[in-house]
Each structure stands twice: as structure tokens, then as C-alpha cells.
């Protein structure tokens, strides 16, 4: 099953709507040296995208689904909270596996975030965090605003929470700008806030103050 089904294009495509774990205690099937990016890595001969340590470590979680003796292979499907929703004992062809995956997927209601979108969102959130640490708030707002447009799961809520914090930071800068004695300095600060924090509410406020200062 592992050799063929998990390398099948339709199974790989279906797996993008899952979080997948393979538990396999033995490593006698060996590894092969492959180049990933610029690095040489030893990847598992059975599951070909991971080192054997990954599936060996996952074995420690088998007890979450089964105790005592059990048949292998067995595939468990769980809802997002980890609660079992179905299981299949025995090997499956790629077509059978995709069918079982689709059945499990149908049992989880609501909008889902496919893996590529999730990876993009994670990168945007990381870009936002790094930009914020470097005090590049314009770049941080841009990254979080892009992440906020992605739908499904908790993506929007996470990005919106980060944007809210940036808006609060903008409000502090706006208060400081309005307290500025020099008109030129005030205009300069208001212009910067209106540009850096776009499309946040504080940007519109700064723009309004700037227009009334002219």
C-alpha cells in the first residue's frame, strides 16, 4: 500500500485537505540520499518525503486510537479535534483510499483550508511578524492584510487579530502626531501614518486629520 497508493497523484491531491500522519516503528526499509533544495537529506524509501525519524516518532501516538493487538495497515480518520470518525483495516488501492478520504472529508462541515493556502497563510503571517519586529509596519500591514483575505479555518481571525494590534499601534502614533507642535512635523507624521497603515481605520483617520490641517 505504502509503495504505490501514497505516491499516487490522486491520493497526494486528496491529502491536501487533510493533516496526515504515518506511524511506522521499523526503519529496516532504509533511506536514500536525495537533494532537497540545496541540502542532501536521507529520505525514507517507503514514504519518500520524510526521514524515517518522522514516521518512527508518530508511532508514539498510536495509543490515541488503538490499544492491545491490532492489524496493520490500519488507517484512522479523525475530525479536526482528533476524535475518530472512521477506520479502515487492511491495505487499500489508491482509488479505494481516495474514496475513504472523501467520505471522511464529508464528515467535517464548514470551509476548509487546503494545504497550499495554509502554507501561503503561514508564510504571510511570518512575513508580518518579521516586518513588525523590524518596525516595518507598512510591510507588516500588507502581509497581514493579504492573509486576512484568505478564507477558511481560523485564518481570517488570526490575521484580523494581528491587524487590530497594528491599528492600535497606529492610534498611538496618531495621538503623538496630533500632539506635535510643529505643523510641518505634524503633516509629515500624519502622511506617514495614512500611508503605512492603509487599509486600517487609523490610516483613514490620519488622512482626515491631514486634510483638515492643510
Amino acid at each position: 500500500m505504502a509503495d504505490s497508493s501514497y505516491k499516487d497523484a490522486k491520493v497526494i491531491e486528496a491529502s491536501k485537505n487533510f493533516v496526515s500522519i504515518v506511524a511506522h516503528q521499523e526503519t529496516t526499509h532504509g533511506t536514500k540520499d536525495v537533494i532537497v533544495g540545496r541540502e542532501k537529506q536521507k529520505l525514507c524509501n517507503e514514504y519518500h518525503t520524510i526521514p524515517c525519524e518522522t514516521h518512527k516518532a508518530a508511532w508514539g501516538f498510536v495509543g490515541r486510537f488503538v490499544t492491545g493487538t491490532f492489524m496493520t495497515p490500519t488507517t484512522f480518520f479523525a475530525d479536526p479535534s482528533g476524535k475518530e470518525i472512521s477506520k479502515v483495516v487492511g491495505g487499500l488501492s489508491a482509488g479505494e483510499l481516495v474514496k475513504k478520504m472523501n467520505e471522511a472529508l464529508a464528515k467535517v462541515s464548514g470551509e476548509k483550508v487546503p494545504l497550499p493556502v495554509w502554507q501561503m497563510a503561514k508564510q504571510l503571517m511570518l512575513d508580518g511578524e518579521i516586518a513588525r519586529e523590524k518596525s516595518d509596519l507598512k510591510k507588516a500591514v500588507e502581509a497581514y492584510a493579504k492573509a486576512s483575505k484568505l478564507r477558511g479555518g481560523t485564518l481570517k481571525a488570526d490575521a484580523d487579530a494581528a491587524l487590530k494590534k497594528l491599528d492600535e499601534e497606529g492610534e498611538k502614533q496618531l495621538a503623538a502626531a496630533l500632539a506635535e507642535a510643529s505643523v510641518d512635523e505634524k503633516k509629515k507624521a500624519l502622511k506617514r501614518i495614512s500611508e503605512d497603515f492603509k487599509p486600517l481605520p487609523v490610516s483613514a483617520k490620519a488622512k482626515k486629520e491631514l486634510d483638515s490641517t492643510k
Binding site: 505504502a2 529520505l43 488503538v66 467535517v108
Partner: protein, 62 residues
């Protein structure tokens, strides 16, 4: 002379095969394989954030 040339060609070909066998092949590109995780608790966290199910498959060597 003909035999010598043939032996030379075979030797070069064998050396090429040996080198190719020792050389690491290119690994899968992102999206070309299943993104297997190792930690169930981290998987639950990600599945909750993405609102997707978890596939947990248990295997043993044949």
C-alpha cells in the same frame, strides 16, 4: 584493437553507472508528495486551524 576499444567503452559505461548510483537523486518538490507529520498534538492544532480531518495510518514492515 577492436576488442580493446570495446572493453574501454564498457569500462567507461560501467563507471558512469556506478557514479550515477552513488549520486543523490533529486528529492520531491513541495506538493509532489504527502506532507506527513510526526506529532499528533501539533496535527490537531493545525487541523483545527484549517478545519480539515486527520488521516492517521499505522504500518509495519512486511
Amino acid at each position: 584493437m577492436k576488442k580493446l576499444s570495446l572493453a574501454f567503452v564498457l569500462l567507461v559505461a560501467a563507471a558512469g553507472v556506478a557514479e550515477a548510483q552513488n549520486k543523490p537523486s533529486k528529492g520531491p518538490l513541495p506538493g509532489q508528495g504527502i506532507d506527513w507529520k510526526a506529532d499528533f498534538d501539533a496535527a490537531v492544532k493545525e487541523a483545527t486551524a484549517r478545519n480539515v480531518p486527520i488521516m492517521f495510518t499505522v504500518h509495519k514492515d512486511d
